[in-house]
């Protein structure tokens, strides 16, 4: 199985690093092929909102940089992990610059009704499970609820299962490991 980890921590972050290391160890131990992108080290431009990935080169982004490969990496993965500081209940700008670059190419421009609500129709038959792990300095119910809802909505719009987990900066390495294992079990990874 293939797993993509998008590490969107804005700066070197001990908690995010611990989560990433735990994920890598666990997944490698299960025989996964793991691809980790530390996004702050990658040259990824912001989505231009040009719709070129729908109208000029369907399914592929027209910007040529480290973000160009994201649609391919995503669609060829079984699991995609989004690792981020929870920022006003949302993803960090580092993670979001990558996240903005792949949903349009992997979806169609056309509308489709799902559970009474309009979404973009899928381009592909199958999408990877999306797992978002958010780092917060401490417990913050409003931010956590917003983050959880956001990830669930991403799952609906990307036609896939979406799972979210929160870790705190003061969580010990053992607690983080337990949370990572619990999260992996929710994905169905054996």
């Amino acid at each position: 199985m293939k797993t993509l980890i998008l590490n969107g921590a804005r700066t070197e972050n001990e908690t995010a690093n611990t989560v990433s290391d735990c994920l890598e160890d666990s997944l490698n131990g299960k025989g996964h092929e793991v691809d980790i992108m530390i996004l702050r080290n990658e040259k990824i431009g912001a989505c231009l909102g040009c719709f070129g990935c729908w109208l000029k080169t369907p399914g592929e982004c027209v910007i040529h940089d480290a973000g160009s490969n994201l649609p391919k990496k995503v669609i060829q993965s079984d699991l995609v992990f989004l690792l981020t500081q929870v920022t006003f209940g949302m993803y960090s700008s580092e993670l979001k610059k990558a996240l903005d670059r792949f949903p349009c190419p992997v979806l169609l421009p056309f509308f489709k009704k799902i559970n009474g609500e309009i979404h973009h129709a899928p381009r592909y038959d199958k999408y990877p499970t999306l797992v978002a792990i958010g780092v917060l300095p401490n417990s913050d119910e409003e931010s956590e609820n917003t983050f959880t809802t956001l990830v669930a909505r991403n799952g609906i719009n990307l036609h896939t299962k979406a799972i979210s987990t929160i870790v705190y900066s003061n969580d010990t390495a053992d607690i983080i490991k337990q949370k990572v294992i619990a999260t992996l079990s929710k994905t169905g990874v054996q």
């Binding site: 231009l48 209940g89 993803y91 700008s93």
Partner: protein
């Protein structure tokens, strides 16, 4: 409530001047100016690529007592450039006092016909205001952004009557230092054409636009095979 004297509009669309965010925000600014609130405008897609430009944007926010963020919905939340702007503002304001005098407003738009897709994004803006210490005076969210497509609202006739009325109600309240009334929030969410017609026009529009550049069937192209 303290009346604002100067507003800044932060246009959060990567399409900048030709965006629906600009159309909506500009209409609100015009109505505020008619009520004596002066204003300036910043296109976020043009002000983040150097520290100097970021500093100019932050100074404009510093010198305004009404901050209006207009943005398109991007993957259920805000575009990365808008998040970057919020992060920069939060860092810039850290530890500063009396920020509650500054009022913060958000206007979201999306291409989906339902406005509720933007609920999370509006909530994110409210959390930002709370965490920074600004006074949150409300968020407006509209679906059906394809009806506007970056054109001035005054050129679009009755199709955007609800959006114009909602922004006029919002301007009236904001100019008095009050929060945006619920009536404006409800009104802006109502698109001016039947939902089925909007969907039909949207789906047809993509095919027509595609015809100018590629074969229609290629719209469905799958460049990457799942290796699973």
């Amino acid at each position: 409530m303290q009346k604002p004297t100067h507003a800044v509009l932060l246009v959060g669309s990567p399409r900048g001047q030709s965006s629906t965010s600009n159309s909506l925000g500009t209409y609100l600014l015009e109505k505020l100016e008619q009520k004596g609130v002066s204003s300036e405008k910043v296109y976020l897609n043009q002000c983040l690529d150097s520290e100097e430009k970021q500093a100019v944007m932050l100074r404009l926010v510093d010198s305004s007592d009404l901050i209006i963020l207009a943005f398109p919905l991007y993957v259920d939340s805000l575009h990365s450039q808008v998040i970057k702007t919020l992060e920069l503002n939060a860092k810039h304001k850290k530890g500063k006092l009396n920020l509650g005098k500054k009022k913060f407003v958000a206007i979201a738009n999306s291409g989906f016909p339902e406005a509720n897709h933007s609920n999370i994004a509006i909530n994110v803006c409210r959390l930002f205001a709370k965490q920074v210490g600004y006074s949150w005076v409300g968020g407006l969210a509209m679906g059906g952004g394809g009806m506007i497509s970056g054109r001035p609202l005054d050129e679009l006739g009755g199709m955007v009557r609800n959006q114009k009325k909602a922004l006029e109600i919002a301007a009236e309240a904001l100019s008095k230092g009050e929060a945006i009334p619920e009536k404006a929030v409800a009104l802006i969410s109502k698109i001016g054409i039947p939902k089925w017609l909007y969907l039909w026009m949207g789906n047809r529009g993509w095919k027509q636009e595609a015809k100018q550049q590629i074969a229609t069937k290629d719209l469905y192209y799958k460049p990457f095979k799942a290796e699973r």
